[in-house]
């Protein structure tokens, strides 16, 4: 027990937290944009998974991680496109299409993996990290937080960037209008469909990128169904964050910490069943909702703008 809270445990915890948080952060921010515009992207799990696959394949065959990220984003977009055409433009049921796409992608990627990699199970080499001078020297948290692959830093930078877009750009206004009162946006001469389409595409790209991170850096390998519900968690994160990108980051870190706790505990010499640890973040969220339910005012109308597929 002496090693608990020792440096090894803490480093493993912080490092693992960030690694687990990045995909959730990227997907969560993407989903937040969609939800702001009034689209509930149930298919985000599929976007992440396809991004994980295409990202991995691209990185493995070209040897370039950045190409992997690019193809990860393209993978996410490939799922966002049918979502856009069928749901935003034509107005089909978002739930049916979202789940259908997710199932389809799960099947497709698992199938392709079986055909290509089931015998070889290739792994990507460990990634080059980019240490931030000075900060990475700090004991314990330095190497964990400030000696990571550049994508991690970029992901975190997305938070202030998105916050700026939401509050200080015309795009942000359009998104908010599309979600709160599309009739007003239409009256102002801006296409609601185009705005929502843009939002969905952005979500696809971000989710795909998150998936690509998961397969190329996080795990270094693609395994069928590897996202394991991360997309759905991203939906919940975005709902809880209520329009503030910073809260997506905090929530992603919370989940990341819980998810990485098992490994960290093992390093610290404590063995706790994975399942119990995996329950922690969800239990934490439920507790928060119960405690602050009355005042949190997560409005029941939260479902409303998001499933408002038509104007």
């Amino acid at each position: 027990m002496e090693s608990l809270l020792g440096p090894a445990f803490l480093t493993a915890l912080f490092a693992g937290t960030l690694a687990a948080a990045v995909p959730l952060l990227l997907a969560g921010l993407g989903e937040q944009v969609s939800e702001k515009a009034g689209v509930l992207n149930i298919g985000i799990e599929g976007m992440m998974l396809l991004g994980a696959y295409t990202g991995f394949v691209a990185a493995w065959s070209t040897g370039s991680l950045w190409l992997g990220f690019l193809f990860g984003m393209l993978g996410g977009l490939a799922v966002a496109l049918p979502m856009l055409i069928l749901c935003v433009w034509l107005g089909l049921n978002q739930i049916v299409i979202g789940i259908a796409l997710t199932l389809g992608v799960e099947g497709l990627t698992a199938l392709l993996h079986h055909v290509q990699f089931s015998r070889s199970y290739p792994r990507l080499p460990r990634v080059e990290t980019l240490p931030i001078p000075g900060l990475s020297e700090i004991p314990v948290i330095g190497p964990a937080l400030f000696d990571r692959h550049p994508l991690v830093y970029l992901a975190v930078l997305c938070v202030p960037l998105l916050a700026w877009v939401f509050r200080r750009s015309v795009v942000g206004l359009n998104l908010q209008a599309a979600g709160d009162k599309p009739a007003a946006l239409d009256a102002a001469g801006v296409s609601v469909t185009a705005t929502r389409a843009g939002a969905v595409l952005f979500t696809g790209a971000m989710a795909g990128l998150g998936g690509a991170y998961l397969s190329t850096i996080g795990a270094g390998i693609f395994v069928p169904f590897m996202t394991g519900g991360a997309g759905f968690i991203a939906i919940v994160l975005a709902m809880l964050a209520r329009g503030r990108p910073l809260w997506v980051l905090l929530a992603a870190l919370l989940f990341g910490a819980c998810l990485s706790l098992t490994t960290a505990l093992q390093v610290g010499g404590v063995r706790v069943p994975t399942d119990i640890v995996q329950m922690l973040p969800f239990a934490a969220v439920m507790l928060l909702l119960v405690a602050f339910g009355r005042r949190a005012a997560l409005p029941a109308a939260l479902g409303h703008p998001y499933v408002r597929g038509q104007r």
Binding site: P224, I235, I276, A300
Partner: protein, 369 residues
């Protein structure tokens, strides 16, 4: 177009999305509706055939295997019917929820938790009581566990209006993990090397029907889904739930006890999901292994939507997908493909079904004007 036709307040999202009391588009002749049902399947099969060809497999042989195994072979047909049982019960539960305007996305968690308790309770009960009583009590417990697992989201929604998409999803993840913990620790059968619960003897499971491998579960499921359909469309209670689902403000205006109805709807919905778990354990497996999660919930949700919450239509859709699952397992094995291909096919069919349904509606509208 005249100013008289009131647009008024925007239709409630629940009303618009779930449209529980939508007047059925009756009228359509049988031929058209059959075509509408078959067209998406054909389209999806064509796309699937392309993929199969790309992978170097024979599409016709593959599809032929599905039909032969899932539908035509007596054993396969029985398996398809057996597979339909938990899906139908889940469907029944989802009908209740969606028609009441509630997003019960926690069905997988409710299913698994009820299953693990059923698996743990059944062997000792069967040893102490007559089999039928043990089964009855276990199934009742399964229902109760499922209902209980939805209590927290139900209370938060009824009391504070907290969005149930978030809460039921959370509870589902929690339920899945908790069920695993229970299998691995307190309910674990020390006699086996693999973590699982004590196995219920075959003689003590749900009885088989008429010398087939189909167990009583299918009867329970059919009764449940037809009963739910009748409840929602023909009774005052069902109408009250539908009112809450269509327009909660109108429900308040009409003096309905919205909070109580919400709790009741959740309880019934989640209870049926729990019952599905119980039926699956008591009818098919006899025990529960660790890390077992067939994920039926995710599949049934779109089916219920496509069936427009109509009980009989759900039976049709569920059976079709059960045949696809069972037949697909064999077809995949014989084509030396993993079962994942069928998952892809399912997704494809769902997309085409949604598209065809939408096209059919547009065509119908155009005919009306």
């Amino acid at each position: 177009m005249s100013g008289e036709a009131q647009q008024g307040a925007q239709p409630d999202a629940a009303e618009r999305l779930t449209s529980p009391a939508r007047v059925p588009s009756g009228g359509g002749d049988l031929a058209r509706r059959l075509a509408q049902a078959l067209l998406p399947i054909v389209l999806a099969l064509v796309v699937g055939a392309l993929l199969l060809a790309l992978l170097g497999r024979d599409p016709l042989a593959f599809y032929g295997d599905i039909v032969r195994r899932g539908l035509l072979s007596p054993l396969g047909l029985q398996e398809s019917i057996t597979r339909s049982a938990p899906l139908l019960l889940l469907g029944a539960g989802l009908i209740v929820a969606f028609r009441s305007g509630l997003w019960n996305l926690g069905v997988d968690g409710q299913f698994l938790l009820a299953a693990v308790f059923a698996a743990a309770m059944a062997p000792p009960l069967a040893a102490a009581l007559p089999v039928w009583l043990a089964l009855l009590l276990t199934l009742a417990a399964a229902f109760a566990i499922g209902a209980l697992w939805s209590a927290l989201p139900a209370l938060l929604k009824a009391g504070y209006g907290i969005n149930e998409i978030v809460t039921t999803l959370m509870m589902s993840f929690l339920g899945v993990s908790l069920a695993n913990v229970l299998v691995k620790l307190p309910f674990n059968d020390p006699a086996t090397t693999v973590p699982q619960t004590a196995t219920l003897a075959a003689a003590d499971r749900l009885p088989r029907l008429f010398g087939t491998t189909v167990n009583l579960g299918i009867v329970i499921a059919l009764v449940a889904i037809l009963a739910v359909h009748w409840l929602m469309t023909r009774t005052a209670f069902g109408l009250k739930l539908r009112v809450v689902g269509a327009n909660p403000r109108a429900a308040v205006h009409a003096g309905l006890p919205v909070a109580r109805l919400t709790l009741a709807a959740f309880g019934l919905s989640a209870g049926l999901a729990g019952l599905a778990g119980g039926v699956e354990i008591l009818g098919v497996w006899g025990n529960m292994r660790a890390d077992w999660n067939p994920g039926y919930g995710l599949l049934v949700i779109p089916l219920v939507f496509l069936a427009r919450f109509h009980g009989v239509a759900v039976i049709g859709f569920v059976f079709f997908f059960a045949v696809l699952s069972i037949g697909g397992e064999t077809a995949a094995r014989r084509a030396d493909l993993p079962n994942y291909f069928n998952l892809f096919l399912v997704g494809l069919i769902l997309v085409f079904m949604a598209l065809t349904e939408w096209l059919g509606q547009r065509w119908q509208q155009r005919r009306e004007t």
